[in-house]
Every structure is written in structure tokens, then in C-alpha cells.
Subunit: 205 residues, 2 copies
């Protein structure tokens, strides 16, 4: 199972300063002599980052790639976040089998929608309004966003946490304040041996 | 064809102040007595918004839903944008038939990748680095992002513009400055008669 997740963090922007590698969760980066994380690179697996220690504050889904500064992980202007203090792997992320039910009201009441794909606009896909009252995650891991097009506050929802049940916005994360959700997507987790995209050297140009 | 696109704009945040509806492009909102657009609602179709008049400056893909203030359409903290001055429908958006080729270097040189799906992390899917040198859009409309997870600068690329050929970052938009691209997704365009998501009233709880 080791080798499935790897993140390299730096305490300065643009991969400068103090450096540390992690292959498992980090509850408080200050315990490693960091004031905060200002840049990082995800080498393998899907992760979730948090503004504060102990997995509190704003959440950010982190997939493979380079995050040179705070604008690369915070997707929202309104809630200014310049630091990441804790992070952990998303164990149940599995792009191929993702299924959840969304409900108009809290406690799984009201209209119900079945979701098994990415939805940059829930309303474009027939959802009734700009809110979701509650979620039941049957499989996989998801990220739900406040605004259309994967913008604004992020809420990471996983089948193996809370028994996959997120009955009210108070269960979505310590930063949640409303039911407003307008886009949803699956979290993908590919490892080195899985190469999803056909990518080749071209023959002579 | 009318009825396929509809946007309602306001000159104050949170759908307040002066209001105007559009079903076609707007080259300069100031010609309608607005200083700028501070909130809007997309009622139908996919649109692209621009920071400045005449479709210049930062680009934002806009799908159906509510955009109460600037943090809902600008996905990036670093390049602070509080206004939208021009916007237009994305005519060729078609979620069902989207295909493009990406190239490691400008002018369609170097390694080549074939893309026909959403990729929150190009590197996770086997792409060689954090850059794309050039794009050839065979069908549909796409939005390419600077950072993983659909964050940072957006570049809208369409099969029916530039002959679908984007040979260098200078052709991606007036705000483009580098080849850095780490996530890519299709732009969807559903209209009222297409209801993609199974959504129903629950029987007695």
C-alpha cells in the first residue's frame, strides 16, 4: 500500500525553503518545524488539504501536479486562505466506481437525485435549485462546490467517513455555513502503473 | 435557436441594482448603462465571460447557475478580478462529442496526447509535465486550467474558432503568459428539454 500516496511540501512559495516528503497523513505541519506549507507537489494519489491543524478549516482536494502558491489550491477569492497546515490521503477515491444520492432537504428528505458522474452545473442537469440539503455517499470520494464550474468552497465527501452520510451542512466540514452547492465531481486517484491517457512520441514531423 | 442561451445580469452583487437580460453576445456592458456586471444568473446554455470589453482580459467559463459575486466566476486568487465587462455564448459546446489533441511543444510538435474526457490532473493521466505547448480542437468546446483540479487561469478553446488550432500560448487569450496547463475539461451545454440527472420526488418518508 505504501507508494500509493506521496506529497512533497515546502515552507516557501515556488518549491523553495524547507522541504519534507510525506506518504501518509500529517495532522500538524508545525510538528515538523514548518510555520506552514506554502507550496507542494503531489506525486501520487489524491489528498485533501486543510487550512488549520487537525483537519480543520477550509478543505482543498489535491490531485497530482504542482501547486506553487496558495492560489493553486484555494479555488475561491472570497475566503482568503494562504496556508495549509494539515493534510491526509483520500483512501476511498476511485474514479471508476462512484455513486451518491443527493437530497433537497436535510436528513435525506425532499427530492432525490442519483449522481455517478461529474456535474459542473447541477442545475443544468435538472437539479431543482442552488442548494443540496444532504448527501448519502454509496461509493468513492467526491468534492462538492459552492458555485458552478468547480468554484468556491469545497466539501470533500467520502464513503468511508461518517458512514457516507452527510445529513446537514454542519457535517460537511468546520467551514460550512450554508446548503449552497452548485457543482459536484468525482475525485480521481490514479497511481503510477495506471496511465489513463494515450500519449505518445510523434513520428517525424 | 433563440432560447438556447439566456443570461441575466445585475450591476450590484447578489442580484441587486440595475438588471438586464441577454440571449446573445454583449461586447461591452457599458453600452447598456452598466458600469460593470457584479452578479448574474445563467438560465440556459454555456457562456464565456471576459474581464474587459471586446472579449479581452481574463476568461471565465459560465455554466447554468447563480454567480452572486466575483468569487463565483473568478477561480483564481492571484489575479484579482472583480468585474465582467463582455460575454458571449459558446456555440459549439457539446458535452457528448468532444475530442482534442494536446502537444508537448508549440506548433503541434513533440509528444502528443488524445483527450476526449475531463482531466482534473493531466499528470495523473500520464501527461509528461505541467505544460501543454499547443492544442488542436477536433470537436466541442473545452476549458483548460493553469493548475490541477480546475483552478487558476482559464483558457476557453473551441473547435469553431481559430480553426480549432491554438499553436502557442499567445493564441490562447490576451491574458495568457505561459504554457502552464494542469487540468482540462469539456464544456457542457444542456438546454431546458434535456434533463441529464435522474431527479424525483421521494415516496412517503
Amino acid at each position: 500500500f505504501s507508494g500509493h500516496w506521496k506529497i512533497i511540501v515546502w515552507d516557501e512559495e515556488c518549491f523553495q525553503g524547507r522541504r519534507h516528503e510525506f506518504t501518509a497523513e500529517c495532522c500538524n505541519i508545525m510538528e515538523f518545524g514548518f510555520e506552514t506549507v506554502r507550496s507542494f507537489r503531489i506525486e501520487s494519489g489524491a489528498w485533501v488539504g486543510y487550512e488549520h491543524a487537525a483537519y480543520m478549516g477550509q478543505q482543498f482536494v489535491l490531485e497530482r501536479g504542482e501547486y506553487p502558491r496558495w492560489d493553486a489550491w484555494s479555488g475561491s477569492n472570497a475566503y482568503h486562505v494562504e496556508r495549509m497546515t494539515s493534510f491526509r490521503p483520500i483512501a476511498c477515491a476511485n474514479h471508476r466506481d462512484c455513486r451518491m444520492s443527493i437530497y433537497e432537504q436535510e436528513n435525506f428528505l425532499g427530492r432525490k437525485g442519483e449522481v455517478s458522474d461529474d456535474y459542473p452545473s447541477l442545475q443544468a442537469m435538472g437539479w431543482c435549485n442552488n442548494e443540496v440539503g444532504s448527501f448519502r455517499i454509496h461509493s468513492g470520494a467526491w468534492v462538492c462546490y459552492q458555485y458552478p464550474g468547480y468554484r468556491g468552497y469545497q466539501y470533500i465527501m467520502e464513503c468511508d467517513r461518517h458512514s457516507g452520510e452527510y445529513k446537514h451542512w454542519r457535517e460537511w466540514g468546520s467551514h460550512a455555513q450554508t446548503f449552497q452547492i452548485q457543482s459536484i465531481r468525482r475525485i480521481q486517484q490514479f497511481h503510477h502503473h495506471e496511465q489513463g491517457m494515450y500519449c505518445r512520441k510523434q513520428s517525424q514531423q
